[in-house]
């Protein structure tokens, strides 16, 4: 993780971000190499989602820099960041947030349709990914008629159909049972590796982190593995109760 920034497709330097007044990230730096899987691990409310949102350009950090592919992300305008997200990034959330009116393959093909791909080509690409993720039988059905783990697989297919450079997965298995969790994660990381997609994966559990190339432990908006300033916060913690 100490590789020079030139090798990294995505890197951030001392990102500070506060949400509605409360600090979420205080000085996080990281870099991800192309085609690698980075797991951001930590308990709830440690800033995982905020970090992913900063890296993917949904949020602009108050301080610090985010660079993608040699270009700054934090200085782009809202429209430029939107285009970057649509063309180079993909996002999988904790909930399989599919469009309820569209059926399986239409949901998976939506990113391609948004780029203006013809319907035939978009459907072919979407069906290919649905088959690879073992949900081809859900192609013609609405999300409401499907169990949650199948919906989440369709969300994974939607993210991969777009052929993104970086895939952000924010606790993609948070709402699944243990057996489905392992399967979804394995298919996600395998598919990403075989297509050279860089993955930034936010997760709570260690098993998921084991599938990654690198792990970034995050506690209270700081990297837990970074050299901590001496006894910082000791004073503040010694409350008498």
């Amino acid at each position: 993780m100490v590789a020079p920034p030139d090798d990294d497709v995505l890197w951030a330097r001392s990102v500070h971000c506060s949400l509605e007044g409360s600090p979420a990230l205080s000085g996080v730096s990281l870099g991800v190499r192309e085609g690698h899987v980075l797991a951001v691990r930590g308990p709830r409310a440690c800033g995982k989602t905020t970090l992913l949102r900063c890296l993917s350009g949904q949020l602009v950090p108050q301080e610090g820099e985010v660079w993608f592919d040699g270009h700054p992300v934090h200085t782009l305008s809202r429209a430029q960041r939107e285009r970057l997200r649509a063309e180079r990034f993909a996002w999988i959330g904790p909930e399989p947030s599919l469009v309820p009116e569209l059926n399986g393959w239409e949901n998976a093909a939506l990113p391609l349709l948004l780029r203006g791909t013809s319907q035939r080509a978009a459907k072919a690409a979407a069906m290919e990914w649905l088959e690879r993720l073992d949900v081809a039988d859900c192609a013609g059905r609405k999300p409401a008629a499907l169990p949650r783990h199948r919906r989440q697989r369709i969300a994974v297919a939607r993210a991969l159909t777009a052929r993104p450079t970086v895939l952000f997965a924010d606790e993609p298995t948070a709402s699944l049972h243990a057996s489905d969790r392992a399967q979804v994660l394995r298919t996600l990381t395998t598919a990403a590796r075989s297509h050279g997609v860089t993955v930034v994966l936010a997760t709570l559990d260690e098993d998921a982190a084991a599938l990654a190339d690198h792990c970034l432990p995050l506690v209270d908006g700081r990297r837990a593995d970074a050299a901590t300033p001496e006894a910082e916060g000791q004073e503040a913690c010694s409350l008498s109760v």
Partner: protein, 380 residues
């Protein structure tokens, strides 16, 4: 008290919608009071006038239900559920809020009535309509209270029925259904039958149990029946027509914008189509009614007729706008998820615009055709 406290803290747009309900209630209350005073002076024929007031009253009640349904304060919220304010008590809250808006309107109607009748306060318009509203000088207090309570009681009862927790659960259980609503064939049949009845009846004789305003000479009961059938038919057909619009939009190899717009329209056809159908019926009915009036009428166009017409049209329009606001709100979650996935906001705006255009392109000509067909036999 909690209802009032919650109501006070809500957003401007929500307050504006509640104010619309209050205004509708005030309008209906004023109409009812005017009818009452006319009845005190002329006992014969008063029942008919009272019955005509049922049309604006129904419109006001429908608006109250539409507003209560979209009121963000009446949706189950985790914060309130945590303190024990679940769906059942929220229904009660919605009922109380509606009753409060309507009572406010009724009180305003009473004040306006008192003032126009001449309360001697010396403000402008004091006693401006003394001749119309004075009757023979006495005001039956019991009747006034009964009539002013009518809209608040009816509206609250309708809201309590429409927002029962069981009804809400059923509505929330089926997100994203795009199956066609069932009413289209019935709606078309009823509309056509209504127009036919009206055309047939307008050629009838001069024996009139229900005299229409203006200079109409045909059989008014038949014409009114025909209108009513047409209106019911349009209200029934509204969801089906909206669904058809959506289906047409998303057919034939759509791109992302057409696909999103069409499917959203198909899934919202039920909620948005009903008020649109009602608006279509009301507007075409208004055009047809305008054909009744002309120079030298026996029963000319009056202020109160105008007030009633404005109330009915206003309520129908406000219901459509409220349903549209609800539709926008119900898409918020999907849209934010699409935004996370990188969908440009311009695409979502374009999809919304295409939906509005498609609906306008279908409903505007439809309204015009029905209005022309309904007015054709009346203008002869």
């Amino acid at each position: 008290m909690l209802a009032l406290r919650l109501a006070r803290g809500s957003r401007l747009l929500v307050q504006l919608r509640r104010l619309l309900v209050a205004a509708a209630s005030a309008g209906v209350g004023f109409l009812l009071l005017c009818t009452l005073m006319w009845a005190v002076g002329h006992p014969e024929g008063a029942l008919l006038r009272l019955l005509w007031c049922a049309v604006p009253a129904a419109a006001a009640v429908q608006l109250a239900v539409a507003v209560a349904r979209t009121d963000p304060g009446t949706r189950p919220r985790p914060g309130l559920s945590a303190i024990g304010l679940g769906p059942v008590r929220l229904t009660a809250y919605a009922t109380v809020t509606t009753a409060a808006s309507c009572v406010l309107g009724s009180l305003f109607a009473l004040l306006a009535f008192w003032h126009l009748r001449g309360d001697g306060s010396g403000l402008p318009l004091d006693g401006a309509s003394r001749r119309l509203l004075a009757g023979n000088g006495t005001v039956p207090a019991g009747a006034v209270v009964l009539l002013l309570a009518a809209v608040p009681v009816l509206a609250s009862a309708a809201v309590a029925c429409a927002l029962r927790p069981s009804v809400r659960e059923r509505a929330a259980a089926k997100p994203g259904t795009t199956s066609a609503p069932a009413g289209l064939p019935w709606g078309v049949a009823l509309t056509a039958a209504g127009l036919a009845v009206e055309t047939y009846a307008s050629g009838g004789g001069d024996r009139t149990p229900l005299p229409l305003p203006g200079r109409f000479e045909g059989s008014p009961a038949g014409v009114l029946g025909g209108w009513a059938l047409t209106a019911v038919g349009l209200a029934l057909a509204g969801p089906g027509i909206s669904h058809l619009c959506g289906w047409l939009l998303q057919s034939a190899r759509p791109g992302a914008v057409r696909l999103l717009a069409g499917r959203a329209l198909m899934s919202q056809a039920r909620s948005i189509g009903r008020p649109l159908g009602v608006l279509c019926a009301v507007v075409s009915g208004t055009f047809a009614a305008a054909a009744l009036y002309g120079p030298g009428d026996r029963r000319p166009y009056g202020v109160l007729t105008g007030l009633g017409a404005v109330l009915v049209i206003g309520c129908a329009l406000a219901s459509v706008l409220t349903a549209a606001a609800e539709a926008v709100h119900s898409r918020e979650e999907t849209n934010s998820a699409l935004g996370e996935a990188g969908t440009p906001a311009a695409v979502l705006r374009a999809a919304a615009g295409v939906r509005v255009l498609a609906l306008a392109a279908v409903f505007a000509p439809l309204t015009w055709i029905v209005a022309e067909l309904a007015a054709a036999p009346l203008g002869r």
